[in-house]
Structure formats: C-alpha cells, structure tokens
Amino acid sequence: MPSGNSHPLDQYLRTARLPHIWCPGCGIGIALGGVIRAIDKRIKEGVLKKENVVFVTGIGCSARTSFYVNFDAAHTLHGRAIAFATGAKLAKPELEVIVIGGDGDIAGIGGNHLLHAAKRNMDLIVLMITNFVYAMTGGQVAPTTPLGLYTTTTPHGNPEPPLNVVKVVSSLNANYVARASVTHPLLVEQYMYKALGMRGFRFIEILSTCPEVFGRHIGVRDPLTLYNSLRSKVIIKQSPSIDESDLDWEKGLVIGEYLIRDNPSFLDRIKGGSK
C-alpha cells in the first residue's frame, strides 16, 4: 500500500481516528512516526510479526499513542504501564512489548516501576518522550525540567536540578540505553530499529517539543521556533559517556547511544537458569 494516494504508514495507523489529539507542532507525532518506521523495517525483514507487537501506555499526552497505532494496545493506569507490560510479556513471551510514556508518566509517577524493570533486565522496550513538563495537566514542573526554566508551578524558575533518567537506568542492569530527539527523526528510527533486534531492558529517551505548554512559559510559543531552538541545543555524539548525559538547557543536550550490553535477560534467567 505504500504507493498510490495513501501515506506509507497508514497500514500501521487507525486512520479513522486521525487527525490526532496532539497540539499543532507537538513532537510526539514525529517520534511515533520514527518508531513505526523502525517496526515496519523489522516486519519487512521477517524478524517481527505485526500481530506480536503490543503497545502499552499509561496516562498523558504521549500515552495517547496507543489509540492511533493499528497494533494491540493497552491504555493503563498512570505510571503503571511498565508493570502491566511486565505481566503481558511474562504471560506470552513471544510478544514484543513496547511501553511509551512521557517523562511525568515513566520517570515521575512510575519511577519505581522503571527502576525495578531495569534491575530485572526485563524484556521490554521503554520509550520516554521527554517534553520537560507535565503537559496534559497544565504545565507543572516535571522531574526532568532543566534548572532555571519557567513552568506553571515555578514562576521564578525551576530551583531543582533535573533527574537524569539515562544515568539512573544505566546504573542498573539495562541492556540498551539511548537518547534521541524529535529534531533528528532518522536517529529515533535507527535507535528503535537497533532496540528491536536486542533482548533485555531497552530504554530510549526521546527529547520532544511542547510549544503549547512548555514553549509558552519559556517564551517560545511558535512550534517552528521551539523546534529550531531544541535542534540548536542538541549535540549528537557517536558514543557519548554517561557523565555527559545531564539535561542542561544552557550547555546543550547530548544525544546518542549511551550503553549497549548483551546481558542475559529476565526471561533467559527464569527459562534456562543463569546463562
């Protein structure tokens, strides 16, 4: 169906629900496009079956992705997407379970589940779409808000240093840790493609734009201006060290593949002892 007059990704989307709910210029659509292109490549290679892909999401803007993809999907409690996905994967190990959430959902409300899934090296792909605020509830400060930025609840600038989720997950037993950005959609596709061919806990943070809430408070309301300002802050490195991964709005945000390992995953351990 790629040729003719339909979008090449239409076969993986519930087109009757489009246009989607996200605001004009929201980066989640770009991130979702990159993720679906990577899944499409793996399906065409024969590595992955379309009926085995499961999207599990929590609550938030990025959790609405499960409404628009034409795969099996679950929309679960706030922050509990990883817990739900762990159950789905253990009940049916042939599934490829993909968890998508925002920074508030995965790192804030569901932070404990993230730690424990990474500690177990659970066979999941977790995508955290970081827009630096709790956008759906009105722009409150999130764990990942960089120091000094204005949000609805920090009118004098954020006094807290941000939580560096890449560093936290790297310190645990994860197999793949990367950070991408919606301003470089081909990298989103490339990292997701790589993660789909691995085992164990795979974590990708995707920096995103939120012109409607985040941009309004920092004074960049126009989607294209915010997109270009995020693009100018992003620094691409081939193999960055984890010490460079701090979220610093002034010095720049380093993206790249932080960690690649091939440790035995949780399913390997419970199936075949300690391989």
Partner: protein
C-alpha cells in the same frame, strides 16, 4: 436555505499533490494543523504557506516550488501529523 461558502473554504481536496519529473509531494490536507515545521525544515523551500483552509480551519502548505524538490523526505519524517508523503517517480 443554502449557505454560500466563501471562496477560500475548500470543498473537497483531501490530497494536494504536485510532481516534478522525479518526485511527487502529497499533502493529506484534512490532517494538517498548520504548525509550519514542514515549511521551515525544507532545505530548498519547496513548500510554502497556503491560503486555503481545510475543514478544521487550518491553512495547509502547498508544494509550490516542486521543481526544486531533491527528495530528501525531511518533510515526511518531520510532519507530526502523518500528513505529507513523498513518492519517487523515477531517476
């Protein structure tokens, strides 16, 4: 009573296409939300801001300078709305 619509309100143009000898740029107008990322991201300024509205009131872009298209597909990859796709017609 029949309400006369002004001329800039489109009737039915779900797909706006333009093609050069090598590439065709298609815009699914009903999905566009006028964020302007495609217009800003295009390296050769193929897409320009349109004057017609879709059924939700957003002015979708038009591939006016299609002869300049180099087929990089940056507009397709960077459209958050899955509204643009580029086809390669021939070498």
């Amino acid at each position: 009573m029949v309400i006369e619509l002004p001329a800039h309100v489109l009737t039915d143009t779900r797909l706006v296409s333009a093609s050069s000898t090598r590439f065709r740029v298609n815009i699914i107008t009903s999905r566009c939300k006028e964020c302007g990322i495609c217009i800003g991201i295009c390296p050769t300024k193929v897409l320009v801001k349109g004057s017609k509205h879709n059924e939700y009131g957003f002015r979708y872009p038009t591939p006016a300078n299609i002869e300049k298209c180099i087929g990089c597909k940056l507009c397709e990859y960077n459209c958050p709305e899955f509204a643009i796709f580029v086809e390669v017609l021939g070498k």
